[in-house]
């Protein structure tokens, strides 16, 4: 699967958020909260789709966060 620039950027942003979240306690929940505050619904939906198609491209905590969202 070839990713376009926007998809690559979304993956990079999500992984970066997971890697930099200051508190290491319950990172997935913090990611959910951060994305709810700053990401548009289409961006969150696109990331979820990418997680289904290319789970290896995403940090485990991002995947856990997306699982929390349901």
């Amino acid at each position: 699967m070839t990713l376009d620039y926007s998809q690559q950027h979304l993956i990079k942003m999500a992984n970066q958020i997971a890697g930099n979240m200051p508190s290491r306690e319950n990172v997935p929940a913090q990611i959910v909260q951060h994305m709810a505050q700053f990401w548009t619904p289409p961006m969150r939906a696109d990331l979820k789709q990418l997680a289904e198609q290319l789970p290896d491209s995403l940090n485990g905590e991002v995947l856990a966060a997306l699982a929390l969202e349901g």
Binding site: D4, Y5, M13, N20, P22, F38, P42
Partner: protein, 931 residues
């Protein structure tokens, strides 16, 4: 155009500066009792009592000098005739300022001055604006008895500076210019060379002004009592006849100026002594570089074109508005509401910005609005809100006068915030210690009478490591201000932070290799800051424009809280904002997730307030940030953009991506003064207004709301907010305001921190610092004094995560970017002024070892390449930067520095990582534009 605004401009010169003592003394001046602070000069006391003692070498912006001997007075019970400028008042003192003896002495002094001064008053450029002329009249000089002898009448003029002339034949050697350069500006470029009759003002070592260390701040011109140092504009045009008080539109210092005009022709900009931010000082940009406002490149008529490869067509306003609205409506119909968005400008007023974000949310029915703070201080907003509860610096500028230790991190105040830089230097000369954390050896590290106690010359990208190491030392050495933490902060978060920061991984020894800063240097700096008494942190884009920009802001906030350096004069966390209204643009709801006053769009209370006032339903989900909009444009989902006063095709990183996104849009509307790089991709050009044409407010880096008053009418015929309102109306949502004051009234009604603000209040008080509301009707110079805005200060752990951008075998050097004194951001304004004599092109600074390795000599053309792109510019070999690091500016589109910066950005805010780009350079034979 509103009716002309008449604001009283107080320009009485009291002769000497105010004394700061809280005790007072009472003296009698010519029989009139006057009570003044102890230490006040007789001259100032007399002036306050309504008696102006003749003077030449004295002015109230400078310490008394006592050289001209014109201000002599008689003091009862004392012998002689002391100079009133250097003699302090004492309790019960009785002073006579006018006696036959004094008259004779003063007339004799003036006679000597005039015996060596050209008698060309009627044709002199300072005729009517000359203190020497005034004093000759005041003392009643009618003739000069001395025969012609040796004199300085044939002394040559120095016309080298583009903005002012130095005519030595008119100099009375009062030293006001020399003292202004030293005391006010702190550059020490001027001196009095030689002795006795040969004494003369000398820039550096008898250089021409342009070749000297002079930074053209204008303080010497301001201080000169004759026509010796004078603006060329005054020489060319004549003495101004009317004045309007307004605010500079360059950096975030937000200096107050008095615009002096003849009719509608601006003659000069004079810094306002009453200006809260600048107190009568200025820099070369605000003082002199305003000619762009009438530059022939200005576009003053709206233009449209069907496609970006067709010619622009000038049209009337209604056609331009209808053209843009039709295109935007078509996009909405075909692609939905979220296919449109806007960028607001930090160069525009609060009122102009507010109506743009209102148009986006209420009229375009999307939250896709962002602002240029995205690419500069968005991490400041995030980090300070998390820790302190609000997105703003904590102090007023005057606070630095109480600082015992000043820590400057990733900022270069003498270049980028020069008027505040001068204020800071004054405090440093008084003995405050200085710690600089910067990869570059900025001027403050070592300049006349200033030397940093410690310079932590870190590797680009390791800020968080260094500040964590500082905090580690403070925590493990027992230097925490436990009482402050217990009383003011969230203790659980503090305990978690203390455990984290005390870990060995955060020790200076562990981080020395990563950061490039020796452990002992960090330990020394930590001790200086922790034991400061008053420790103040000032920072700039060298903090925010990193992949860990937000983390770094929180790390600094932790440091300040842990040492109790918050909530009083002389301390704090102080972002030095890049543009004049970055603070204001953020305050006004320019971010896609926040309404004005930093309330999230999901906040039902806030949303209901706006819904009720605006009469439309508003979206509760955040909109897209600038990079998200650009990404979506390339994907085909984002099709139209309104860009207010920004040149993203020059200023934003990874320009290939920016231009590809702009090219993919169906309608780009640019509102600006000039056709710029972004307008190459635009379909509609809406002419904007320069700051001289605006009516509104700017909010500076210290949260000071200043009035911007229209000095001349808008060249395009409309205010920018009127244009935005017209577009909104054409899109189906009317925004009706009679004037800018009404917009501010709405801002005040909808923004808790602005609740008490109005144009009337600003006109009455000059300026005010938010929060200004029922709890703080006179504003808030120092924030978090009793409690943090969020209640308790929140400590946040700040693990150091290295940036992905690292030097490699292919790109072994790290490029960092910045700006210099004479140019401003993308240069749209300053490149259209004579400031180009100091900086005509971007130049890459490179360490001698790196240059030698690559066969590059000083002045050579080189190619700079990164993984994003390449460009060419000249090299300058410099020891201001360490080996392995190169530096350049981004002021010129020809070199297009942002062609090589990458898409890396701050993890929390997407602020671009301008400060770290891995590059390689190699000699290049020819000049070429960015590729």
């Amino acid at each position: 155009m509103n009716k002309p605004i008449e604001i009283a401009i107080e320009d009485l010169d009291l002769g000497t500066p105010a004394a700061l003592s809280e005790s007072t003394v009472t003296v009698h001046i010519d029989g009139t009792a006057v009570e003044v602070p102890a230490g006040t000069s007789i001259m100032r006391a007399a002036s306050l009592a309504g008696t102006q003692i003749p003077k030449l070498c004295a002015t109230d912006s400078l310490d008394a000098h006592g050289s001209c001997r014109l201000c002599l007075v008689e003091v009862e019970g004392r012998k002689g005739t002391p100079a009133s400028c250097t003699t302090p008042c004492q309790e019960g003192m009785s002073v006579k300022t006018q006696t036959p003896r004094l008259d004779k002495l003063r007339k004799g002094v003036m006679e000597l001055y005039i015996s060596d001064h050209p008698l060309d008053c009627l044709t002199c450029s300072a005729n009517g604006d000359c203190e020497l002329q005034d004093m000759a009249g005041v003392v009643g000089l009618r003739s000069v008895r001395y025969e012609e002898g040796s004199n300085h009448l044939a002394a040559s003029k120095d016309e080298s500076n583009p903005y002012f002339s130095f005519d030595a034949s008119k100099c009375i050697v009062c030293s006001r210019c020399v003292r202004a350069c030293s005391e006010v500006q702190g550059t020490f470029a001027l001196t009095i060379a030689a002795r006795g009759f040969e004494s003369k003002v000398s820039p550096s070592e008898e250089n021409a002004f342009l070749d000297s260390e002079c930074v053209s701040c204008g303080a010497c011109v301001q201080a000169c009592p004759t026509a010796t140092l004078q603006e060329k504009q005054v020489i060319d045009l004549g003495v101004p006849t009317r004045k309007v008080k307004t605010t500079c539109a360059y950096c975030g210092v937000g200096c107050s100026f008095v615009a002096e005009l003849r009719g509608d022709e601006l003659v000069r900009m004079v810094p306002d002594k009453q200006g809260g931010a600048n107190e009568g000082h200025s820099c070369v940009k605000g003082r002199f570089a305003w000619g762009y406002a009438t530059h022939s490149d200005r576009i003053t008529r709206p233009m449209v074109r069907e496609t970006t490869d067709s010619e622009w067509r000038e049209v009337e306003w209604p056609e331009a508005i209808a053209f843009a609205a039709d295109r935007f409506k078509a996009i909405q119909q075909q692609h939905g509401m979220d296919a449109l968005g806007a960028i607001t400008s930090s160069r525009c007023t609060n009122e102009e910005v507010y109506v743009v974000q209102k148009m986006v949310r209420a009229s375009l029915q999307t939250n896709n609005v962002d602002t240029c703070a995205r690419v500069c201080h968005s991490p400041t907003g995030y980090g300070l809100k998390q820790t302190f509860g609000t997105s703003a610096g904590t102090q007023d500028f005057a606070s630095v006068q109480q600082a015992d230790v000043i820590m400057v991190i990733g900022a270069n105040p003498t270049d980028a915030h020069p008027v505040f830089g001068s204020r800071m230097k004054r405090r440093l000369r008084q003995g405050a210690k200085l710690i600089v954390i910067d990869p570059r050896s900025i001027d403050l590290v070592q300049s006349p009478h200033i030397r940093a106690t410690e310079h932590l010359q870190l590797q680009p990208g390791t800020n968080v490591a260094v500040v964590n190491a500082l905090a580690h030392v403070i925590a493990t050495e027992g230097w925490i201000d436990e009482a402050f933490v217990q009383e003011r902060c969230d203790v659980a978060s503090f305990n978690a932070w203390r455990r984290f920061i005390s870990l060995p991984e955060n020790s200076p020894e562990n981080l020395a290799e990563i950061s490039g800063v020796a452990a002992e240097t960090i330990r020394s700096a930590a001790a200086i800051y922790a034991k400061a008494g008053n420790g103040a942190i000032y920072y700039g884009l060298g903090v925010t424009e990193h992949s860990q920009g937000s983390t770094m802001v929180m790390a600094m906030a932790n440091l300040a809280m842990a040492t109790g350096n918050i909530g009083r004069d002389g301390v704090g966390i102080n972002p030095l904002r890049g543009q004049n209204n970055v603070q204001g643009a953020c305050d006004m709801g320019s971010f896609p997730h926040e309404f004005s006053g930093y309330r999230h769009v999901s906040d039902e209370t806030a949303r209901e307030q706006f819904t009720a006032l605006w009469g439309v339903d508003l979206r509760e989900e955040p909109g897209m940030r600038i990079p998200n909009m650009l990404d979506a444009a390339i994907s085909g989902n984002f099709r139209g953009m309104y860009i207010q006063g920004e040149d993203i095709a020059q200023s934003d990183p990874n320009l290939q991506h920016v231009t590809a996104a702009l090219s993919a849009m169906d309608c780009v509307v640019v509102q600006d003064l000039f056709l710029n790089e972004t307008s190459k991709f635009a379909h509609v050009f809406l002419p904007g207004t320069s700051f001289l044409e605006k009516d509104g407010t700017f909010t500076n880096a210290e949260r000071r709301i200043n009035r911007v008053r229209p000095v001349v009418p808008p060249a395009s015929g409309l205010a920018e907010w009127q244009v935005t309102c017209a577009l909104s109306k054409a899109m189906g949502y009317a925004m009706d305001y009679a004037n800018a004051a009404e917009i501010m009234d709405e801002i005040a009604a909808m923004t808790p921190t602005f609740a008490g603000v109005s144009f009337d209040l600003l006109d009455e008080r000059g300026s005010i610092q938010w929060p200004c509301n029922e709890q703080a009707p006179e504003g808030t110079p120092i924030m978090h004094a009793e409690r943090f805005v969020r209640g308790e200060g929140q400590f946040i752990t700040t693990p150091y995560v290295p940036t992905d951008e690292r030097s490699t075998r292919k790109f072994p050097l790290l490029l960092t970017t910045g700006r210099i004194l004479s140019q401003y951001n993308v240069g749209a304004q300053t490149r259209r002024t004579d400031n180009t004599v100091w900086h005509a092109e971007d130049i890459l600074e490179i360490h001698e070892a790196d240059a030698e390795l690559r066969g590059v000599a000083d002045g050579d053309w080189i190619e700079v390449a990164s993984r994003a792109g390449s460009t060419r510019m000249r090299a300058h070999i410099s020891d201001d930067i360490p080996a392995g690091v190169v530096y350049t500016t981004f002021h010129h589109p020809v070199s297009g520095t942002n062609v090589i910066t990458t898409d890396n950005s701050d993890w929390a805010t997407n602020c671009p990582e301008y400060k770290v780009t891995a590059v390689e350079i190699r000699p290049s034979s020819a000049q070429a534009v960015g590729m």
